[in-house]
């Protein structure tokens, strides 16, 4: 499935004095869902638009299966993209919007009906776009992207405006596509959603690559072996026993007492030694959100 690999190398975009994307390089593999994460203004949308030939890069390349998007003979059969929820004429029906796409890409009208069915929009197919809810607009966007049954799917903030049912639907839809061997690149800042959806992540901030890898690797890279959550009826005695062999600080957290500066092994040993009763003892494992905030905290903000 070499066709579906996305390769971004040395990609930069400068607008009058502002560097939106700065020497960005990463790869996206087929058969996996890749989350493209970054704070607002990190250059995610600009990067995706450069990949799709909508914005001309100042430097560098973004390739689909080794070729520029503009050089693809039948782009709709290779790449489908959902970039903004409101990109259809207000006075045109959903079905006609898709049919126009069929004509332009040399596909039969039956494809319009198939993708409508695929995204569950058939009941609203003959209503005009202005009457669509945000969720329906997202679905129409995905339907448009699926017209050519593409190898690669690129989505910019697709969960925006979706209700919980819609988000669950989207997650399963994208996971299915990846399971079929397709490439799925999804930008988002909904980190819990990304943790549930993505296999790999590419994290950018201030236009630069911060971290790339599988979700598991990236999360475990923020090792927190020295943070432990305990529940005990005698916190003072436990802390006193701990302070004999480590310098620790403690604070109340929703899960229990959060102790920093000692491992779970050390806390367990100290509790045994002092004869303190423990109801719960576990390492404080970071999630994607913790990692993201840790990696991007000094690079976010308005530039």
């Amino acid at each position: 499935m070499d066709d579906g690999r996305l390769t971004v190398s040395g990609l930069s975009k400068q607008y009058r004095g502002v560097t939106a994307v700065d020497d960005l390089s990463f790869e996206v593999e087929a058969g996996r869902v890749t989350g493209f994460l970054g704070p607002n203004g990190a250059g995610k949308t600009t990067t995706l638009r450069m990949l799709l030939n909508l914005i001309t890069p100042t430097r560098g390349t973004a390739l689909v299966g080794g070729r520029r998007y503009a050089d693809l003979a039948e782009p709709t059969r290779i790449v489908g993209a959902v970039l903004e929820a409101s990109s259809a004429h207000r006075g045109r029906t959903g079905r006609n919007h898709l049919r126009a796409g069929c004509i332009a890409s040399g596909l039969p009208f039956s494809r319009a009906d198939e993708v409508l069915e695929q995204v569950g929009l058939t009941p609203a197919a003959d209503r005009t776009f202005k009457g669509y809810s945000l969720g329906m607009r997202q679905r129409l966007g995905i339907a448009t992207a699926m017209l050519g049954d593409p190898q690669v799917l690129v989505l910019d903030e697709p969960a925006n405006g979706l209700d919980p049912v819609g988000i669950r639907w989207m997650r399963e839809f994208l996971r299915d596509l990846a399971a079929q061997g397709r490439t799925v690149l999804v930008s988002s800042h909904l980190l819990s959603e990304m943790q549930a959806l993505a296999d790999d992540v590419v994290i950018v901030a201030a236009g630069r690559l911060v971290r790339q890898g599988s979700v598991t690797d990236v999360v475990s890279s923020l090792s927190r072996d020295d943070r432990v959550i305990v529940e005990t009826p005698e916190p003072e005695r436990l802390l006193a026993a701990l302070s004999e062999d480590a310098v620790v600080t403690a604070e109340r957290s929703p899960g229990g007492l959060l102790i920093s500066g000692a491992s779970a092994v050390q806390v367990g040993r100290a509790a045994l030694r002092a004869g303190v009763l423990l109801h719960q003892l576990r390492s404080d494992q970071p999630d994607l959100e913790d990692v993201f905030l840790e990696l991007t905290h000094d690079k976010a903000g308005i530039r």
Binding site: T45, T46, R49, L52, N53, L54, I55, T56, Y69, A70, L72, P75, T76, V79, A81, L83, E84, S86, S87, A88, H89, R90, G91, R92, T93, N96, R99, A100, G101, I103, A104, S105, G106, T144
Partner: protein, 292 residues
Amino acid sequence: MNNLVRAELFKLRTTSTWWVFTLATALSTAVVLVIDCVQAHSLFKTFPEYLALESHGNAADIPPQFLARIQADWQAGHGVLGQAASIYTAGQLIGVLLACLLGVVLVTSEYHHQTATTTFLLTPRRASVVGAKLITAVIVAGLFWLLSTLLSLITGAVFLASEGYGTQLGHWDVVRAVLLNLAVYAVWAVFGIGLGALIRHQLAATVTVTVLYLAGTAASSIFELINTYVIQQDWVLSAEVVIPSVASAVMTSPLKTFTESPPEWVGAVVLTAYGVIASLVGTTILRRRDIA
């Protein structure tokens, strides 16, 4: 390219755009036809009758200078060939403005409704998209011309026959005016594509086109001022043909549209030059511009 043109035509057909433009074309042609026929009806009279009609029966009180001027007007308009050509191309006055606006809408609606993203994703070769839009604009402008011409032919033939002149359609000058009018429509539509690319804001582009078109009349008085105060030579007045709407009239009229008007081919050259420049500018802009 064939698919892209079909897609553009389909896009036009599936919104309210086509019938708004069709209705406007039919209505404006009808209004101009009535005016032209009424005018022709009085100009076809003998001069004393015409004078009596124009002066509401007070012909005796008109000073000689004015009388000479009225007579010149009558002489210019009395010829049946000129009147036939002008009636058969009656739709041009507003019709070419509509053709131009159609070109504007073909481009600006992509930005207005943010469909440019979808369009250029489906077809990343942007020059093809612009080419398809140019062809579509010309095809649809041709349909507007057809509608307007059919209305004019029916009304004009009936009117001219009732005045006792027959249809005048046997004269090549008249037929040529009708056919050249098609070319005028096409050039204005192409012109609209270029302007839409230049001014992508739909309302701003629409207003600009309308004002520019209507300002044609005001611009001709500028040429007269230059002729009176700066360069007192006739070619200054002839140079009025650089105004696109004047060029259109010069191109389709078998007679002189104004005293110093240059020959028809000059109008054709001016208008074609505008069309070529507009399509080059439009293509260049749309190919380079980032879609953000």
